[in-house]
Every structure is written in C-alpha cells, then in structure tokens.
Symmetry: C2
Subunit: 988 residues, 2 copies
C-alpha cells in the first residue's frame, strides 16, 4: 500500500515483531513495558461510554453506550439496551476525533492506584498544556471523580445510600455540595495555575481496587459472559461543563490494566481511558466523537496499534489506517440514524494486517473466490490393493470414541425418534409392495429385519454413519423382474437371488479393492442435484398419492360408482315386493347418499327395485340382510369421514412440522425452548396429530407392524440354502449378469447419497469414508442375501433428514454476533438406535398402531420439501418465474449470464424428466441406475456447451490429470447459493 | 455549523441566491452563464461510468456502473445489471478522489460540438498543466475517442459492423490500428510538447450531435423512463494506459448540456464529464475513485454545487460538505463489499441545505419526533347549530366528482366483489338469528333490504363512504330484549320498535346539531384498539365456532351420543325376533359405526335388541323401516364427510387467501400480475374452493338467500304503522328510554369505526365527515324503523377490509426506490355497488347457492386475522413472549421502559376481557355500549398512572383546553409501530 506517510508501515512492523517505530514521543510517557499478548491473539476490549448526567440532584457518569464487538445504546428510560448494531459513525465526528487526538494529551503507560490518580494525572496534563485554568481545574477534578451508574445496578437502593454517603462525607470536606452549573458561562480568563487542590473525601481515598465509585456495587456478571475472557476495558467519559471555553480531551493508557474504581459495568480491569469534556451545548457532538473512539477501540487492528503505541504518532497512524478502510455511505441516500444489523460473518482483517503491494490489490482483495475444484484427497487412486480402504480406516479410527461421546445431546434423542418413525414407515409400505411382487417370499417382516441388521452394522462400522440405509424403488423393480424370471422358468427364487447377492458382494469387493470409489469425484453437483431432486420429488409425489389412495380403502362414496352394475344386491325379503319393503330399500339407500338431494329424488322417480339394488353399496346391502354379488363388490365398501379427515391429518402434520421447525428462528421464547421445539418439530407434530386422531376416533388407516419375528411366508426359514434342485448349474454363472446391474445400482445409490451427505456445506469434519462404506455395503449385501432379506442401500432423503436433524449452531458470543452453522453432530449412536429400534418395533406394535398413516405421509411431505429446500437447482428453476429485477443476488448470477443459467437449468430439468420417466415406466425402469450414470456423462458433455468458468459457478470442474491446487476455504458460501455478504465483482 | 473553513458557507449562500462566492478561479474557465434550474428543483443527473476495456481486439469504453439515484453495477458476463444499491464508498478511494479534484484540471462551462472538441480541450489542459507529454497525448486522444458500448445495445451485430467500420476507416488515417499496450511501461521522459496531432477519421468529424461513438446506435428507451424527465448526464470515463507514469484526471462541465456523441446509454444530453486515466495496474483503484465521483454527482446537494460552481474551490467545498455528512462504517465489523438495500425512505436533506447554527443541532437533527396530539380540526366545537355538519358538507362536496371518477380501477372491482360476499354472509346469518329472536318479524329478507337501503344511501351521501354499514351483535341483543318486553306485556313489537327508532333519530339529530361528534377526539388509540381488537377476535372466534357448528347440522356420529336412550327405534318386523332379523339389525348398526372395531365387537357381545335399538340413529332406524321415538331424535341424523370436508374448505380458503394476498410482495411474475392476484386474493380463493366443493359434491351447507322480495313474516307489510291499539299512550314517551341506549350504541359503534377508518396511517386525503356520517345514520335509522328493518351501523372489520382492499402504492421511479403506500382509493362506487348488489342478491340465488358456508367462514377468519395484523396492541401482547434481545425496534420501546409498556398492555387486555364478558353474558350484554364508553374514561384515568410522555408514545395525548400546535408530518411512521429507519435516540 502506497500511503503518503509511513503510517501503516509501522503497524506492519509492529505486528511482525515487538519493535515499534516511534521517532518522536510527544507525550513523554512511552515505556517499554507492554502487556500485549505475545501469542498474537488479542483478548479484546470491552468499551464503555459514560456520559455526565444529572441524577438525583447530583451529577453522575451514566453508562450510555457499550461495545463488545458491536455497539449497544441505552434506550430512553435507561432500562433497556438497544439491539447490537454496527456503529454508524458521522464523518464529521470522526474528523473531530482525529483533530482532538492530534492535539490532546496522550498519556501512555500511566501508573496509578485508582481514579484519583488518573484524575490528577489528567488534570496535570491539561493544565500543563494550557487546556485548562486552575480555577475550573478543581471543578473538573470533582466531576471526574463523580460516581458511575450502570443500568443494571440496584439503582434505587444504592442511589439512596449514595446520597446519604454524600451528605455525611461532604460535611467535613471542601468539595462544594453541588457544583454550580448555573454560572452562565462566565469564565475568568485571568485565573492562573493554582495548585492548592481541595481535599479528597475519604471514601475516594480507600484502597483503589475496592473503592466504590459506582452507584451500584453489583456488577453485571451475566453480561460478563458475553465478553471474551481476558478482555480489558476502555472507559470513555463524555460530559459538558458550562465553564469550559472549548473541548478538552485526554487519552490514557494505563501501564497495567487495573480496577481504577468501580466505574465499569462488569468486573474487568481498565486499560484505557478517553475523557472528553465540552462546553455547554456541545454534548451531542462530543458524544458523537466519543462514539467514533469506541468504534476505533473495538477494531482489531487499532486495538493492536493502541496497545503497542509509543507515541501520539503511532495512534494517529492507527486512526488513519482505520479511516482508510472505512466504508462511507453517501448522505443523500442513506439515513445515518439507521441501525445496521450485524453482518452474518465478521469480515476478515487479513488484508489490513498484510497490506498488498500494488494499489489495485488493495481494492481487489475481496474479489469472489472461484469454486475450488471438486477434489477430495480420499478419492485419489492409491494404486495399491485396498489402499483407499486402508486410508479410510486409518482416518476414521481415531474418531471412533468421539463418534459415541458426541451423541450425548438431547438433539440426538429428537433425531433418533424422528428417523425411527421416518424409516419405519417405508419399511412397512415397501414390505407390502415387495410381498406382492414376490408372493410374500419377502414382506414387511423381512424389511424390518433388513433395516435392523443393516442399521446396526452400518452404524457401527461404516465410514459415514450419518448415512441411513433404506429400500429404494429401483431395487424393488429388480426383485420383481428376477421373481418373474424365476416363475417363468420354474427356478427357485430365493437360492437364485442369493447367488446374485454373492456375485454382487464379490463385485463390490472388487470396487473396494481397486479404489473404484474414487470415480465418485466425477459425480458433480449436476448429477447430485438431478438425483436428489428426483428422490425428493418422488417423496412428495408419493406422500400425496398415498393419501389419495386412502379413498380406495375408505371410499367417500357419495355418488354411485360407474361400475356398480357389476355388484348387485340380492335381498331375501325382496321376494315379496310389498310397498313396505320398497320403502325400506329406498330408505336404506338414503343413508348411503346421505343428504344428497339429487340422488334421493332419483330414487322416488325411478322406482325400479333392481336398479336400486345394483346401486346399493356392499355395506348397505349387508345391512338389509342381503348378499352382494359381483366382481366390483370389493371396491364398494363405504367408510365415511376417513378420507377427508386423513387429508386434515396429512396437511396438519406437514404445516405443524414446518412451523415448529421454523420456530428456531422466531423471536419468541428463549433460545433453549426454541431450539428444542425445533429439534423435536416432527415428533411433536406426530404426537399432536395422533392425539387428535385418537380423540375423534375416526377409523383412519394405522401403521401396522407385524407382531412376531417370523418370515412372512411360512415355507421359508431365516437362512437360505443356495443350492436348489430346480436351478440349473449354469445359473450360478448367469447370475453374475443381474449381479452386475445390481452392483451399478448399489454403487450409484450408495455413493451419490454419500457425496450429498459429505457435501462441503454440511461442514462435516470427521471426513468421508467412501471405500469403507462400500466394504460394509458389500458385506451387508452378502449377509442379507444369505438371510433372504431385501438389499438396503443409502437412502438420500432419509440421510439428508438425518444430517439436518443433527445440525449444530454456535452459541453467540458477543452481543450481535450471528450464530454460525458449525456442522452436524457426527456420531454413530442415532443411526445405531434407529437400527436397533427398527427391529424392536415388532415388540411395540401396541404403541405404533395408534399412528395414522396420513400423519406419516405428512412427515414424508415435510422431508421431501425440506430436501428440496436448499437445492440450487430449485433456486434456478424459480429464476424462470422471476422478473430480472427481483432476482436474488445469487453469486452465480453475478458471473454467468442469465440465459446461460437458464440453459443449464433446462438441461438439468430434461435429465430430471428422463430419470422420472425411466423410473416410472415399468418396462425400462431397470435401466434407472444406468440413467443415473448417464447424467455423469451428460455433465461431461456440458464441457462443450459451457465455458469452464461458467461451469465453475454452476457446478464443479471435472477433475483432470493435473495436480489439484489447494484453495482457500471460500466454498461454503458459494455452495449455499446466496452469499450472505454479496461481494462486488471486480471485473477489471 | 462551526466548520473550520468557510466551505459550507459558500454552499449556503449559493442555495439562497445566485451569488456564488469564488475569490479564486484556478481553472480560468468560470463563466456566468449557469443553466441551473431557478425554481430550485433539480431535475437530477443520470450518471454513467464507462471503463476502458478490450473488446473484439480493440479498446472500447464499456458501461460498467450507473446511477439514477442508487448504484447499479454490470455483473460479470456484461448482460445483467445488479440490484440497485446504496453506493458503498471506500474511504481510501474517496480521499484519492479529493486529492485528484484538488490538482486536476477543472474545465467549467466548456463549449463544444462533440467528443472531439472535448478530447482536444482535455488534452490541452493536461498538456498545459504538465500532466501529459505530447507523445502519448496522441494516444490518449485516440483512446478518448474510442467507441462506447452499453449492455443493452445490439452488441453482436453492431460489434461486427464496428469492426468492419474500423478496418475501412483506419485504411486512410494516421491512427495506429491498435495502440501498443505492451510497451512495458517504458516512458521516455525527454519528449516534449508536440502539437502535430494525427488526423481525425472522418466518421468522428461528422455532426457531433448525431455521430456514432457508441457501438450500438439503439439507446435504452425503456430505462429512460426510470430517469426523471429533464435530467442531464454525467459521463465518467476510467481507463488504464501502460504509458502513463501517474494518474491523470479532468472534470469538465459543458456550457450547455448536449449530445457530445453517442456515448450515453440513454438519449439524454451530457453536462459533465469526469475522465480518469491511470497507469497499468491502477485500474481498480481508479474505478473506485470514479465510483465516489458517481455517488457525489447523484447527491442532491453536491449536484446543486457543481451546477453553480465557479471554481475548483466551490467543487472542493461541495466535496467537503458531502464528506462531512457521510456515514462511516468501521472496517472491522462491516464488509465493504456488502450491497446495501436502498432504504425505505430517502432521508431528507433539509439539514444540509439549512445548516444548524449550534454544533449540537447538527447531531440532533433527526431526533425522534414526538406524536402529534390527536386533534382533528373537524372535531372542534363550532358553537353554531349544525356548524360541524355544514363544515363537513362544504369540505366533502368538492370531492364528490372525484369520488366517482376515482373508482375507475380494476382494484375497485375486486374490492366490490370481495365486500359483497363478505357482507352478504353476515346479513344472511344475522337474519337467521334475528328471525329466531323476533319470531320472524325481521329475518334474512329484512336484513338484505336493510343492507341494500343503507348501503346505497350511505355510499351516496355520507362523509366517509369507505365505511360499510352492517349488523352488530349488541344491536341483536337490544332487539331481543325489546321483543321479550313486548311479548311479556302484550305490546305490538313493530310499532313500539318504530317509536324507539324515531326517538333515536331525534337524539342522533341532536348530536349532529350540537356537534357532539367532536367528542370523538376523546376516543384515542387505547379505545380504538380495545374495540377493534374485540371485534376482530369475535370475527375469528365466530368463524371457528360456525364451522364447529356444522357438526350439529351434519354430525360425524362415529360413536353413540350419550343421550341416545332418549331416542328409540320402533321396528315393526322386530315383533318376530327371529335370528335373521337380529343379524339384520346388527348389520345396520355396522353401517353407522363404519369400521369402528370396538363398537362392532360390542354389538355381538351385548346382543340385547333393545339396547341396540336405543343406540340406532334416526336414519338407520328409518332404513330398517322403523320409526324413531324420543326427544333426542332430532339430533341424531347422520351426515358423513360434511364436517371434515368443511374444515378442509375453511382452512383452504383462509390459507389460499392469505398466500395470494402476500403474493403482492413475492418475487415471482411481473408487478401487474402480482398486483391483480393480490387484489383478487379473496375472490380467487372463494372460486377455487367453490369449484373444489362442486367437484367433490359433498353436501356441505350452502349460502341460502331468500329468492323473493317479501317480508319474512307474511302478516307484516313493508311499511310499519306506528299506531297500535295494543300499545298504551305512555309507551310513546317511554320508548325514549331504550332509544337513549340505542343512541349510545349507534354513536359508539359508528364513530369508533369512523375513527379507525380515518386513522392517519391509512393516509386518506379526502378528509373525514363525522357529523355528516351521523346525520345520514340518523336518517337511516328513521327510515329503517319506518320500514321495519334492522338498524345498521358502521361495521369495524368490514370497513377495515374495505380500506385495505383499496390501498394504493406508488409505482417505483428510480431503480431501487421503494414503492410508497399512498393511501386508499377513496370513492363511493364500491360501497354503492355493494349496496345495490346486496339487494340484487335475491335475484342471483341460483349462483349464490353454490357457495359453501365454510368457505365464507374462511373469509371471515381471513378478515379477522388481517384486522388484527397491524394493531399495536397485538405487537405489544407479543412482546410478553419475546426475550428482551429479540424484541423488534419498535419506536415506543426506545422511549418507554418495557415494564411500563407491559403494564399498559395488561390494562388494555383487562379492558378487552371486560368487553368480551359484557358482550357474551346475555344478561348484561345490553351494557356493552356503555362499557365501550367506559374505556374512554379508563384511558382518562391512565393519565394518573403514566406520564404524559409515556402516553404520547403508547397512545395519543387527550385533548385539553390549550390550543393545539401543528406538528410536522412524522406520525405515519410512529403509527405504524416499527420505524423503517430506526433513528437513534439522542437523550442528551
């Protein structure tokens, strides 16, 4: 930096060594003893500004403003601190302060025993520099020793006490009872320096460290916790005195931080004092100048300067350096009274500590960092057999203990219960589907067993225990196809399936052996988003579809279904068609079409009994003592209220869970309550809705879990014999073919989910373990095949829900500092408990059967929506509907033209649609894993459509052969899409 | 202001007269001809910064930043402007700019024909001041004449054209094809001034006003609309040249604004040019300095200075004045790259135009204004008979024409349809209740008639046609009591009621005659809020209660009601108790308890036919051909699905209306669409839900309006005869007593609603008409009594919904300026149409009967919630649940201690509860109007509990005998509770 004077040079020198350049020493108080922390970390300053006010007939120093990092102002009434805000400084006041500091006495390394000493030293310097005449010197001294009042003190009690004290002490002293402030500015210029000071009241002479200058002797211990430990205090004192002709100021640095008297709100030692007294009607401008001093002293760099300063010049250099880096807002379009919210992240001050050499660098220092390339050191080919696996184990082993201890948090309980219910439901529903597909060779019980076994083993041994294994749609399709094959060719399904499983295990072990998981680095955000978005949409779609399906189980049935003619009611007593009996039938009919006038009218007009009977529902027919005959009769049972009540439960659960989750950032109730309510959001919603369901007693469909540990189909055991007479020998080899498909499927499902969970934005610090994960999955596939259970792989939405339910935020430190997302509670216990309880679910069916299915579908909807939430793809899709001027300040929009962004989004949407189609159309759904794989190649092809720079902003750069460079930690803000602090792009 | 130099003095002088103090004239270009607007309103400057960039192999001036009021930056990619933001200036850059301006040539009032002239003049000045050597002078000249490129130009086409042009033109000129920028900074210092300039290419010599310096000859006409008409342009040009040893700059003011060549994005004339060229690697810092210039030139005050400046000194004075008023943000806690959102209101610059004399005033200028007292000139006692009324008419008459023409807006259509449906429902439901209370002397038809008559007359003649008259609860109570009296004493109800009506009219006319409406000024925010909050809560409560009531009409009936024993089923065929018949009964029973297992089991265990029969519902019994006997039978009809579906409709309507209303401030779709969707929010919700209801066909209760214009009770006509034989003569006098009560009721209801509608925050500018309103109400009461219709007065929630549905917002002008709430569309047409259509509703019952009641209850819920929304009372109640540090920056919290605020809120809550109790308990509900009146006295009593200052912040000050002073227009921000720009309280 090419500064006109060598100011910052001295700063730079001082930060690298203990040598401080100070050619001149105006103050004459420079000493070498500096207690500045040598490890380079400043402990911080608590800065307190007291203003001279009239209180209870006397003058007191009243604390009006304070800084830990941000500024807090005492609101009118004196009982309430404002919200912490960024100090908005008036430039005029800042200039005044600079002027004051360049003329006022600067007392460095003063040794003192208390405020009395300080006042004497200050007065001496003022008098010696001719700022103050001796006559008012005494008055000033008295004022400087006035008591200090903090808003948190027991003001009433102590002020009485204080008044009593004052009365008793002044009896014997020379201090006037009340200093005349009504002299109307008459100032005798002729008075000269006069050293006969008035006597000091004894209570001010008492041991300086314990003397009570404050009105309250209770310090604010609660607030003390907000101040970094080891911090010292800078006391600013501002007042007005009619007798003064002009402003006088002094800056004092004590040799050692000490309690100079009870002048500070908190029990910390004072290091700096800045005293500014102005003439009448100058108080507001003095306060403004002192505020600038407060902002200066809480600045990290200026703090370092002022701790080391050997002279006025050093301090002025610091002020100048500070002012150069200030941000100025034009007066015409910014109200200076606006209280600015503290920023999300406190900006780094590195560029100030190490000033750049070229003037342009100075401006450019905060240019947007480009994405770091998508390289993970664990995803390198090691070139050794099981090299990656060994590295994974070596890396994960040291974390193992903390993987257990880190679970000691109430949040983990919430997470476990949420995940338990969230995974149990798919097990049950998937079990039903699987049972249908395989003639109950594998059903709900098998799914529950699989969930328990995989859950426990994966939680205990995997590389990334935040992953939750589950059943997936494509897997179901595979099983269906296999079973159909077996049926068609008369093979034994379970042994065949077991062979495939063993082959798959073998293939997966090969993947582990040759570090093929390293290929994961080709799975970029493009593929991740397509896949995760698809899964989330499926979740949402399924949630709605399942609730709509309730109509099949409990038809609303308010009008006759079209195919009712296929179900006729045969009534025994209709043989004698008397008039009485007809009324009978019509009346029953009326129940069914309850209050539907049209239907009712129809009956009496069209009085043919047969047509009526064919329109009757099954239950109505039974009610009449008749028998329903026909194919369609199964569809005609009539359950009122269930369907609509299910929708109420469904939406209720979703809305409640969403609202409670957002409660975390609401303004009501203390953090502790909000935190817990938010953590338990899903659980609370489920409980509320279960209670509502129980109260109304509507027979909604409930979660039904098998009650006994036994295979769904009685003719199979828990262990499968791979040898079957029905299966020809070549099937042992042929089964390698479907195993290949299964391998691709498992690999893609497992690793994409792992990539998503391990994303930078989740801030996991225990590292990934792709190779180890794969090994465990391989072993599990073998085990599950042996036991004849469905294969489970990482389930994207559940895993994401798991990570989200475990997120940690920092506790706020200084008032105004924003809590920072710290990552997730990475541990194995929640996953382990989910696994164990998935199995134990069989034992607690009596509890579980109170849970209505629509409530669980509501949870699915919530999970799906939550998973979609943070996705950049969704943000980009929404951009289509936003007029240009409303578009948020996404960082990629600053760098990539909108049309290119739209093109990229459109390509992703096409991929998504293709995936959806492939997944949905039964015939080709087996190709789904290959289609997912294809997105990786589509992404590769995009290299031809987009520039590398554009792709850097929209996606990652695909790895090449070049050695990746390590980049700065700038990605998390890029990943999250919107920058909290939009940085201006410097394109020059 | 006591500035060190006389800087601002000159500014002050220049803003008051045309005399400009300029002792020195460094530039020598000062002329007296200044085209500054003499009416004092500056037309504004459009400021455009072009940066020298390489484009298509050549250099061009590319527009990178622009200012109308706020700054917009061209994002990377060059296709997209950033969001408008407040220019955050680097102080270092600002200092550099100041330095540049104090040394660089300042060319004032240059006469020129185009960019060529300007370039020559600029070069001359640089060369004559020794900034530039002649050798590179030519290069600089070439660069200055490079084409300009704007992002909105047809860049591709024109760049090709440009390149072709360049190639052809350079053939015959001396300009080097490409200026060497690879000279690596070799600069021959020995070269001397050399005047033989290269020839100018012919295309640059063409008529300056039409020459095409820009790459695109299409200007941005769309953007032009955002710039105030009459604005001129300041062109900033920044570039770097390797050959330059240091920065060179020039500031040019043209004598007359003119098109100097196609260098500006919009077709406006250039007045100022600021050119800044730096050496290599200085571009970013040069751009930063030029940005400061841009911010300066868009500042209102600096603009005035620079238009009038006669010398460099004037400009530097302006810069200094600007810098003094800048807000500085500390570097440690503020990221300078943050783009600050434009503030809600652009701060007033009055304090800069008229600098205060004392230094403290300077700091204090934005202290919070205190509430203005609650005085309305129309609420003064005139002392003449009908004085207030005459004033009202005089004031309202001139608006009458605009009251009709202002209705020409689509929003009014939305408002009318919303209000029509919102008022029709209470008419119908209130009519039902009234019919019950008066043995159908007055029913739904009478209510509809009353609504139509009052609607039309009030809309046409009232003082505040935004008020909507409606039926109120206390009125119903009054009618009930009167009718009971008449029944007990054998009097004729309708004639008696008519007498009371006539007395009431008389009393109300007295109120009008003696300007008693002036007492309204004692109704402060305290009473308003208690009343309005109560009414809103009643709305919300009633909405829920009514939906819950649907269960009575359509019981869910999934378990046997307790009192079923009071309804037994007598079955004719159960006399022969054969086994078949028993099964029969049990089966029917099964219908009723559809799928409820518990109930089913019970049947077979407890097989007594009688107990079964007593548990049968009416419909089931009828279905069996039996007859239900007992008192409770009426309660036992069974309608499935309706109840839960009603809740779905109810919540659906509410959520949809809420979301659509909020759609106004969403980021999607253009303003026009959002505006209309938001205006029609309620209507769209109703239509969607009606369609949903129609599709499902569930027999939900529908809106049922009488189909014929005839009195509900056939034995009464449309005109009431006041003389009845049954009524004794003294009843004619006695009726004055209930009339007094009715008068209080009508007065309070009517005027509180009027006060709420006329609130300052609604920004109505056609004024109130309390006296006129009262006159119309008095006449209406008479008329309604004569016709035997219920009395209608202003309905709070409906009136508020009316005002809200008509709110206007300003269209945004400069990019980044926030739309301002401008008030409501004050007109009579919507209210008139609501009145007319209320009557016509009888004719369109075929349409109206498709509307399910739960949908309308949803609308009520929406109206209630919306009415609660803006209430300070609600804000204060929420404060109870907010930890101190999360409490919003409400202005009253800055001035009143929290404990006092809580006390005040608690008192209001007690009042609210009292009102609720009085209203709800039948016996005392007649005292409701008196209780409302009581809140006025409670408020008066608060003068003893709270200080006047506290009450000023929490409420209004009650009027006293003192003459009210007129205060500044600062209340709207106070009224709204939260200040958009929290101003710092200066308590010194």
């Amino acid at each position: 930096m090419d500064l006109p004077d060598s100011g910052v040079q001295s700063l730079r020198a001082s930060s690298s060594s203990e040598e401080i350049c100070s050619e001149d020493s105006l103050s004459g108080h420079v000493v070498n003893h500096i207690t500045f922390e040598h490890d380079g970390t400043l402990k911080g300053l608590f800065c307190q500004m007291d203003v001279l006010r009239t209180y209870g007939g006397d003058l007191v120093w009243k604390e009006m403003t304070r800084w830990v990092k941000f500024e807090e102002v005492l609101e009118e009434g004196g009982k309430r601190w404002s919200k912490p805000h960024v100090s908005s400084l008036s430039m005029a006041a800042f200039m005044e302060l600079t002027e004051l500091l360049s003329t006022c006495p600067i007392l460095l390394d003063v040794e003192c025993n208390g405020m009395v000493d300080v006042a004497d030293r200050v007065l001496d310097s003022w008098i010696s520099e001719g700022n103050v005449k001796s006559l008012i010197g005494n008055q000033i001294r008295t004022i400087l020793l006035k008591k200090h009042k903090h808003p948190y003190g027991r003001s009433n009690a102590s002020s009485k006490e204080h008044r009593k004290k004052m009365n008793s002490s002044t009896d014997g002293t020379v201090i006037p009872k009340s200093i005349s402030f009504t002299m109307n500015g008459v100032y005798n210029d002729g008075f000269e320096l006069n050293d006969n000071r008035p006597e000091i009241p004894s209570y001010l002479h008492s041991s300086p460290s314990t003397q009570s200058l404050s009105l309250s002797n209770k310090t604010n211990t609660r607030f003390l916790r907000k101040i970094p430990s080891g911090a010292e205090v800078a006391n600013l004192m501002v007042g007005e005195m009619e007798e003064l002709p002009r402003r006088i100021a002094v800056f004092v640095r004590l040799k050692e931080a000490r309690n100079v008297g009870d002048i500070t709100e908190v029990k910390l030692c004072t290091r700096f004092l800045f005293i500014l007294l102005g003439p009448k009607n100058h108080l507001a401008s003095c306060v403004a100048a002192a505020r600038c001093m407060g902002a200066l002293l809480t600045d990290e760099i200026f703090m370092a300067v002022v701790y080391r300063a050997k002279s006025r010049r050093d301090i002025l250099t610091g002020v100048e350096e500070f002012s150069k880096h200030m941000t100025a807002l034009p007066p015409g379009y910014w109200d200076p009274q606006t209280r600015l919210e503290p920023p999300e992240h406190i900006p780094s001050q590195e560029h100030r500590k190490n000033p750049p050499s070229s003037p342009d660098d100075q401006v450019l220092h905060t240019t947007d960092e480009i994405h770091e390339s998508h390289d993970d050191p664990t995803l390198q080919l090691t070139g050794r057999l099981f090299g990656g696996l060994i590295n994974d184990i070596k890396r994960k082993l040291p974390w193992y203990k903390s993987d257990i201890t880190d679970a000691l948090h109430i949040q983990c309980v919430a997470s476990f219960m949420y995940l338990f219910l969230a995974t149990l439901t798919p097990n049950v529903t998937f079990g039903g589907l699987l049972g249908d597909a395989t003639d109950k060779y594998m059903g709900t019980m098998e799914c529950i067993m699989a969930a328990a076994i995989t859950g426990v083993i994966y939680a205990l041994f995997s590389g990334q225990p935040l992953n939750i294994l589950g059943s997936t749609g494509p897997m179901l399709v595979l099983e269906q196809i296999l079973y159909r094959f077996c049926k068609d060719y008369g093979w034994d399904f379970m042994p065949f399936r077991m062979l495939i499983g063993l082959w798959t295990t073998l293939f997966l072990l090969l993947v582990v052996a040759f570090d093929l998981s390293a290929l994961v680095k080709f799975i970029t955000r493009f593929t991740e988003e397509c896949f995760a978005c698809l899964i989330a949409i499926i979740f949402i779609y399924e949630a709605f579809a399942k609730v709509a399906d309730i109509q099949n189980f409990a038809p609303v049935h308010y009008f006759p279904p079209k195919n009712l003619s296929q179900c006729t009611c045969v009534l025994p007593f209709l043989t004698n068609t008397s008039n009485e009996n007809f009324t009978h039938t019509a009346a029953v009919f009326k129940i069914i079409f309850a209050n539907n006038e049209t239907a009712e009218t129809e009956i009496y007009n069209n009085s043919t009994a047969n047509s009526l009977l064919s329109n009757l529902g099954v239950e109505a027919c039974t009610a009449l003592g008749g028998i329903s005959v026909g194919d369609a009769c199964a569809d005609l049972k009539y359950v009122p209220d269930v369907f609509f009540f299910s929708w109420l439960l469904f939406f209720g659960t979703f809305v409640l869970a969403m609202s409670l989750e957002k409660f975390r950032s609401s303004l009501f109730f203390p953090t502790f309550i909000r935190q817990n309510v938010s953590d338990f959001a899903v659980l609370i919603s489920i409980v509320v809705m279960v209670v509502l369901d129980a109260i109304t007693g509507i027979p909604t469909p409930k979660l039904s879990v098998p009650t006994e540990f036994k295979p769904t189909r009685p003719d199979r055991g828990w262990i499968i014999n791979p040898i079957s007479d029905k299966n020809p020998w070549w099937l042992y080899l042929l089964s390698a073919l479907p195993a290949l498909l299964a391998t691709i499927l498992i690999f893609m499902d497992q690793q994409i989910t792992a990539v998503i969970v391990n994303r930078k934005e989740h801030k996991l610090n225990k590292g990934s373990g792709y190779h180890l994960d794969m090994l465990i999955v391989a072993i599990l596939v073998g085990l599950l095949s042996l036991l004849g259970l469905p294969w489970y792989v990482a389930a994207t939405v559940t895993a994401l829900a798991h990570v989200m339910s475990l997120k940690k935020e920092s506790e706020t430190a200084a008032p105004g500092e924003k809590p920072v997302f710290l990552g997730a509670r990475e541990q194995r216990i929640t996953a382990l408990m989910v696994g164990i309880f998935s199995g134990l679910a069989v034992l607690i069916t009596s509890v579980l059967r109170y849970i209505p299915m629509p409530v669980l579908y509501g949870v699915f909807l919530y999970m799906g929506i939550a998973a979609l939430g943070g996705m950049q793809l969704v943000q980009r899709i929404l951009l289509f509907f936003m007029p240009l001027k409303y578009q948020p300040d996404y960082v990629f929009l600053r760098h990539v033209p909108l049309r290119r962004v739209h093109l990229y989004t459109a390509i992703q949407i096409v991929c998504l649609i293709l995936l959806w189609v492939v997944k949905s159309v039964k015939v080709i759904s087996i190709a789904f894993p290959i289609m997912v794989l294809a997105t990786v190649f589509i992404r590769k092809a995009l290299d031809w459509v987009f520039t590398q720079r554009e792709l850097q902003w929209l996606d990652h750069i695909l790895p090449s052969l070049r050695k990746p460079e390590t980049k700065a930690e700038h990605t998390d803000k890029l990943e999250s899409g919107v920058e909290k602090h939009p940085t201006e792009s410097n394109k020059f």
